[in-house]
Subunit: 486 residues, 2 copies
């Protein structure tokens, strides 16, 4: 009774540890999480992929809202003049802007940029809305998509031309207030990564040459991919008065004087989904962390012609009971064998599979299979809901623990320049080393290794005291993580 | 102690009943719900405006999800070739497409359209994803923004060049299944309008000349604006196989034969917010239906220098207690008088105001003011939460009842052609009349009145039996609502 559907019968044909990039391509196209479209670099998010993003949105949004941030929405299109108002900003974004030049059959007088980020369109409004210290802080956020035509060779989720994100844009009366927002936001992002994506990350400051176009200082959460390359996650930028001055966002302060606001911006994007798939997935396919899984439990009824009806009936009863607590689906498609379905749902990364057959029903139990560690166990029907709930938590914790272990094992404290180069170019992972802070040393590493400083982790800065720069031997000012970068 | 902020001191200076269009412009710019930007036709949604939209999204989404529809996300950009695949579709949208022709400093080989709607980019994927009847129905939805450069004179929310919406795109194995989705979706939209926006609407079929570009049949929910013009609300389009054939969305049916899917699309947009503001607002400003109000209750402490601290303290305690059940805000800004604040919050349309002063505290009560009918009442502290909750419900119901009365009073059964013309051109509102179904009669009305057929309401179609067309006198096939249209 097989039909035409063939999409994933062949499974993943390369090993993650042998060829990460080909493995990634395969899991992306075969798992039905996202799909390519005819616009290079722009993806279709299928139900599983978009559900995961919606959960990230929802949970991040709740924390941002608790922190006092309101959601807004600004136009997709930005007039060229506005985008060009802050010099570093336009310099950074100009090469990758998608320009609208025609509408219908008419040529526009001024080109309109599809937002690569929304500072410029938002701050024009801020300058109208902010008059007094009483209007501050103004802390707004929006969820949208942005377009950056930056990658010659896009990679789904990790390097996209269109991606979904949140962009927070806040304005404060004083520099101190603006600065105090940094830890709040970075901790919100880190908790989302930990608690939902089961991902750890390294919080640190970016170097001046790596900071956001227009920022005074940028902070990031960096991840390590399985192939030894680092990738930037959520970030937080302190813009100081860099935008408020050209945009005229001024206010009457408590002393009755005119001042310019201090601003921050911050973002988490759909790139995180790519990191999540990369880190957790294995040679059978995706492993979706339970909280982001649209289907957390798949029930596979196992039957022959005689037992079909009672087994499917039991499976559906089970599903109904479980659905009060978890997201569950019964795969009773009889065009495929149970074995085929096992592979299919493993490929899609559903955290738990329940197998139920005639003998299980008689014994008043089911077989429960964990996607994360391939372990099977019998579970009594009476205990099932409770057991599934606790297993989902265990799976989350196990994924996080594994990812943390991987991250930790990728950090190499290096003691001389050759060692640094070897980590970046051969071993992979982060090379932890003292750095003098000079652009010259940073560039030297870039030129000689094609790697760069991912960030300067906040938690190890103390260590730089008394150390010498790994490149030039001068006094170290920072501890930095050097790595190949995505 | 007044500061520079002046935004709304002057209030609304024209009367809604005398000059609707100027009144609308004023409430839009003074209420801080949305704002103009430097891109004509593209708005900034401020916290109150975006909150209302988020509530519409959330509630619609819950109902769509219960109905079995999954959320997805497709690219913003559509290659010209793809957009042009269905002939009626491109003919309809071509004049209003915003085209990306350059990225960075390079000219693109093929123009990319910013989605005016996503049929074409989605259906290319559907043709890959759908193979067998087992993959059907495929019922997907996305929330995004679309761009249509269609209006010479945009009006905020009502006629926007960029607007936010949901677009549902479903595919079925049979025409019957596809058709049976119509009532489900239209009823979902109507219930959102009724239960959240406090708006009634008229469900009906569009005429062939007014249907969606590419559809076989379109259905809409029509509203009546206070100036006597109708405006189209949420809609539902039956596309039959019009898209599945050019896009090759075919599948193996249960009989083992290749067939093309039957499709529907449907949408609700931010235009509804404009209708909501238009219908409920009054000469003091907005009136936001309670369920969509970011702030449902504003507390205004009334004090002199001596009573300031205890009154503000009481106000904050009150707020804390209320916040468990409703969205509440204390306006303790001492740069403004209570009277100024009353006007300000009336302008913003907050459903309930609580006034609390020294005497109220002594009497263990507060003054509660309803924005919808301007009535004030004393409420005992002990009863407050319960009373506020029930008042919010009453306010919603009152807004809906008023809107329904307005809608009903705008419908005029007409008996001859001069009467029809008079309603459309002078009286305003819907002229209900029998129609033969011919394009000729429809065009005649258009040319002679600048009005058109809003839709053919489903609930009055029976009435057409035995009637004669109001224009030509031939046998009537439909009952139609004729009106000036936005």
């Amino acid at each position: 009774m097989a039909d035409e559907r063939k999409k994933s019968e062949d499974g993943i044909t390369v090993k993650k540890e042998e060829n990460f990039s080909e493995w990634y391509t395969q899991i992306i196209s075969k798992s039905e999480f996202v799909d390519y479209t005819s616009v290079s670099g722009c993806l279709a998010f299928r139900p599983d992929g978009y559900f995961a993003w919606e959960m990230i949105q929802k949970s991040t949004n709740a924390l941002l809202s608790d922190a006092g941030i309101n959601n807004v929405y600004f136009p997709l299109l930005i007039p060229e003049k506005l985008l060009s108002k802050e010099k570093e900003h336009i310099k950074g974004f100009n090469p990758e802007v998608a320009w609208v030049t025609q509408t219908g059959n008419s040529k526009l007088d001024e080109r309109l940029a599809i937002r690569p980020t929304s500072e410029t369109i938002m701050y024009e409004s801020y300058s109208k809305w902010i008059r007094s210290w009483r209007d501050l802080p103004m802390r707004y956020n929006q969820w949208n998509s942005v377009v950056r035509w930056e990658f010659k060779h896009p990679t789904p989720l990790l390097r996209s031309r269109e991606f979904l994100w949140n962009e927070g844009h806040t304005a404060f009366a004083t520099k101190e207030e603006a600065e105090s927002e940094r830890d709040t936001i970075l901790n919100i992002y880190l908790s989302i990564l930990n608690d939902y994506l089961a991902l750890p990350g390294i919080i640190g400051k970016k170097t001046d040459s790596e900071k956001f176009a227009g920022a005074e200082a940028s902070y990031s959460i960096e991840h390590m991919l399985p192939d030894g390359a680092s990738i930037q996650g959520p970030d937080f930028h302190m813009d100081g008065q860099n935008f408020s001055k050209p945009f005229g966002i001024k206010f009457l302060n408590k002393e009755g004087k005119i001042d310019y606001v201090y601003q921050n911006t911050f973002a988490i994007s759909t790139r995180e989904l790519g990191v999540m798939l990369s880190v957790h997935g294995d040679n059978k396919g995706l492993i979706i962390p339970p909280k982001l899984a649209r289907i957390q439990v798949v029930i596979i009824p196992i039957y022959n012609n005689d037992s079909k009806d009672p087994v499917i009936k039991s499976a559906k009863e089970l599903s109904k009971r479980l659905s009060e607590k978890v997201r569950v689906f019964v795969d009773d498609n009889d065009a495929y064998s149970p074995g085929w379905k096992f592979h299919e749902w493993e490929l899609k990364g559903v955290p738990i599979r329940i197998e139920i057959g005639e003998r299980d029903i008689k014994a008043d139990k089911v077989v429960v299979y964990r996607r994360d560690n391939s372990k099977k166990q019998d579970v009594k029907m009476a205990d099932l809901t409770k057991e599934i709930e606790s297993l989902l938590e265990e799976i989350h914790q196990n994924l996080y623990d594994r990812a943390l272990k991987l991250l930790k094992s990728s950090i190499h404290e290096v003691h001389d320049y050759p060692e640094l180069k070897k980590i970046i170019t051969v071993t992979g992972g982060f090379a932890e080393a003292p750095w003098c802070g000079s652009f010259k040393c940073e560039e030297k590493v870039k030129n000689e290794t094609k790697g760069k400083i991912s960030n300067m982790p906040l938690h190890i800065q103390e260590k730089s005291k008394g150390k010498r720069c790994i490149v030039c031997g001068e006094e170290a000012k920072h501890m930095a993580y050097f790595a190949k970068s995505y």
